[in-house]
């Protein structure tokens, strides 16, 4: 029997790895992938709680998180495509037109 704290521990580790990826990398595609990593970590945590508390609400919430993650990935990638059309780079350090 796997205790609940193992699942939450795994979720915490993956979430922190995703957070470090968002804050550290320069390439915008990898920043987006790290955001998806964070969402997956939260999904693991929600389904674990749903199992251990004998409830279905965790799984329904995971359903909604996946729908929103798909919508956000679609729009984020469309933004990256139009950004690339204007600036021809994927390096976030070079997208600095608003910098004073």
């Amino acid at each position: 029997m796997v205790p609940l704290s193992w699942y939450i521990g795994l979720s915490a580790v993956v979430f922190c790895l995703g957070m470090v990826g968002v804050l550290t990398r320069r390439n915008i595609i990898i920043i987006f992938l790290s955001i998806e990593l964070m969402l997956n970590a939260v999904n693991i945590s929600l389904v674990a709680f749903s199992h251990f508390l004998n409830s279905m609400r965790g799984q329904v919430f995971v359903f909604f998180i996946m729908a929103v993650a798909a919508a956000e990935a679609a729009i984020g990638l469309a933004i990256i495509i139009s950004l690339n059309r204007n600036k021809e780079t994927l390096n976030t350090a070079e997208i600095n037109l608003l910098k004073w």
Partner: protein, 170 residues
């Protein structure tokens, strides 16, 4: 015992793939490392008696989101990072912050009791109905309004993605 070994295998592969996603030089490698991660997260969902969510995870994440990412990466012709710099200049501080946050979260978890009001869908009752039907029973009664809102969100995403990414015909 077997369940614990299974969980340790899934957790090891998930953490390894997550590390390789944030550390790879090539963005295509990062996107491809997400694929075993999605499948092993679906394995964790199956271990937690959530077969419907596991199937939706494989379909949506591995089958739609990752394919979209790979389309965009191939469309933009992203090679290896020219210039070689993977990380921003603040990476030691952020890495230390990540390690501190992980340590803090894990230390809180080890010494905490998780309690909450038990729901009514025990494992036996869900096994009688089937997991998809049990999710449907809750989704279409208690969460009907968020379900309709989710459909509006997807419509907005479709319209927005097309408007943002299409070429201007002039």
């Amino acid at each position: 015992m077997l369940l614990q070994i299974g969980f340790l295998y899934l957790a090891t592969v998930i953490v390894f793939c997550a590390l390789m996603v944030i550390l790879s030089k090539n963005p295509v490698h990062s996107a491809l490392f997400m694929l075993p991660l999605f499948f092993h997260v679906a394995g964790i969902f199956i271990m937690l008696n959530a077969e419907f969510v596991a199937a939706v995870q494989v379909l949506v994440y591995a089958g739609a989101i990752l394919v979209m990412f790979l389309f965009v990466v191939m469309l933009l012709n992203v090679g290896k990072e020219e210039g070689g710099k993977r990380f921003q200049s603040n990476w030691p501080i952020t890495a230390m912050l990540g390690i501190m946050l992980t340590g803090f979260l894990l230390s809180v978890l080890v010494s905490s009791q998780f309690t909450g009001t038990n729901g009514t869908y025990t494992i036996e009752e869900v096994a009688k109905l089937g997991n998809a039907q049990a999710v449907g029973k809750v989704l279409y009664t208690e969460f009907l309004f968020p379900f309709e809102i989710a459909s509006v969100i997807l419509l907005v995403a479709m319209v927005g993605a097309i408007v943002l990414a299409k070429k201007k015909l002039d």
